[in-house]
């Protein structure tokens, strides 16, 4: 039983990663592809944060009478990664808007023959 308790967090995060990854690959609409990309990245952030957590520890901000802190380093990495994710989303959505104006559609199966997007 303790084996499950130790790892359920990681397994759910893996499931979320694969859900996001599946949406990216199988989505037909480009906006939904970007949503899938965000879900995939957010679940990777959850993997980082859940490795930094110490049971019984509190947030890494010094408060009197607290000895056990969670690890601040994954938080720093994920602060960077979240903003990187939003930057990629913004450029992706700008591309979707331009594709809509150029092609008239953002559905992947409606692009003419060869320049379709995975």
């Amino acid at each position: 039983m303790s084996f499950i308790l130790d790892y359920y967090n990681y397994w759910i995060v893996v499931f979320l990663m694969m859900a996001g990854f599946y949406i990216v690959i199988s989505a037909n609409n480009l906006v939904k592809k970007i949503v899938g990309l965000n879900i995939f990245q957010t679940s990777v952030f959850m993997l980082y944060i859940s490795m930094g957590k110490v049971t019984g520890g509190t947030a890494p901000i010094v408060a009197e009478g607290v000895t056990q802190y969670s690890n601040p380093l994954p938080h720093v990495l994920i602060l960077t990664a979240i903003v990187v994710g939003v930057a990629t989303t913004a450029v992706g959505l700008a591309l979707v808007v331009r594709i809509k104006r150029a092609y008239g559609t953002v559905e992947e199966n409606e692009f003419d023959n060869k320049d379709d997007v995975i």
Partner: protein
């Protein structure tokens, strides 16, 4: 107490998994974006429960706020219904299952969740937790690691945000508002006008509080920049883009974005000039701790300015496209 937190965490992770599943099978894109908003809120809540306070702050404001608003504006231009995709979903399923199996295989040797003696907390982290309040002098260890120990990462990240606005501007470009354009914005909602007018000063005040409170509590440059941008986005949504352009013009925002990055890099150059390494704040003042304080406050300001200018400029670029497609 501990098992209560585990229970709450499990419940929220279950809700998150349900939301993700629901998004996979939804065809109505508006619902997908709404559920993505919930997904970001929930993951920010889980970060809060995992003691990642700054990350919850950023995920809520950046992930749930800016991304959802941008997606809604994009959807306004690209239509609501996703068509049925022609090629079969077997290959994607296979690829996903293989990657998932590899990840699960990877989790077998992972150190257990939450144990204090995991290798993650052994090698590099103890110094951040014990010495950073003394060496850098800030109660918020995340800000001291973010700004001082790994300041180069944050500079790289500010440049990533800067290159995002370069990308969006080159793709969409901000359309200058001609006076004759119809006064768009929510004219009919008198209630919203009044409420927005009263709330926006409060929100900007809160953004400044977050900016300068970043050393002692959760907050910092990124979160403050996004909240200030959110205030102006609210103004633009309610009163329309022409008025928003009059308040803060897109040209000025491009200068502000560049100035923020240069402010950050000039702190590094100044510390090089004073004989230390790049971004070494100990050189900034006689007493190293004071130098760290100066350095961190200035670069957080640089980051806040850049993120505010970039997020607002991106919204202007998207908003003016929506107006254009709506006007003609």
């Amino acid at each position: 107490m501990a098992e209560f937190i585990d229970l709450v965490l499990l419940a929220m992770l279950a809700m998150l998994a349900l939301t993700a599943l629901r998004i996979i099978f939804l065809k109505d894109l508006f619902a997908v974006v709404m559920l993505f908003g919930i997904y970001s809120f929930l993951s920010a809540l889980i970060f809060l429960n995992l003691d990642a306070v700054d990350v919850a702050f950023t995920e809520a404001s950046v992930g749930a706020g800016i991304s959802t608003v941008l997606m809604l504006v994009t959807l306004a231009m690209t239509g609501r219904k996703e068509k049925q995709s022609t090629h079969s979903s077997l290959l994607p399923l296979f690829v996903v299952l293989v990657t998932g199996a590899a990840l699960i295989y990877g989790t077998l040797d992972m150190p257990p969740f939450g144990h204090p003696d995991n290798p993650v907390h052994q090698h590099v982290a103890p110094r951040y937790i014990e010495e950073s309040p003394k060496e850098v002098g800030l109660p918020n260890m995340v800000t001291s690691v973010l700004a001082s120990y790994r300041g180069f990462d944050t500079l790289g990240e500010t440049v990533v945000v800067f290159s995002a606005v370069i990308g969006v501007l080159s793709l969409l470009g901000v359309r200058r508002k001609k006076k004759k354009d119809l006064e768009s914005g929510l004219e009919t909602h008198r209630v919203l006008h009044v409420v927005a007018k009263n709330i926006i000063p409060l929100v900007i005040l809160f953004a400044l509080y977050v900016q300068f409170h970043g050393d002692f509590g959760p907050g910092g440059g990124f979160q403050a920049g996004v909240i200030a941008a959110a205030a102006f986005i609210l103004y633009a949504l309610v009163l329309g883009l022409p008025k928003a352009f009059a308040v803060v013009g897109p040209r000025f925002l491009q200068w502000m974005a560049a100035a923020g990055v240069l402010l950050y890099a000039s702190v590094g150059l100044y510390s090089m000039y004073k004989g230390g390494q790049f971004l070494d704040y100990n050189q900034l003042a006689a007493d190293p701790i004071a130098g760290q304080h100066y350095g961190i406050i200035i670069i957080e300001l640089g980051v806040g300015i850049t993120v505010f200018a970039v997020m607002l400029n991106i919204f202007y670029a998207f908003g003016s496209q929506a107006e254009r497609s709506n006007v003609q």
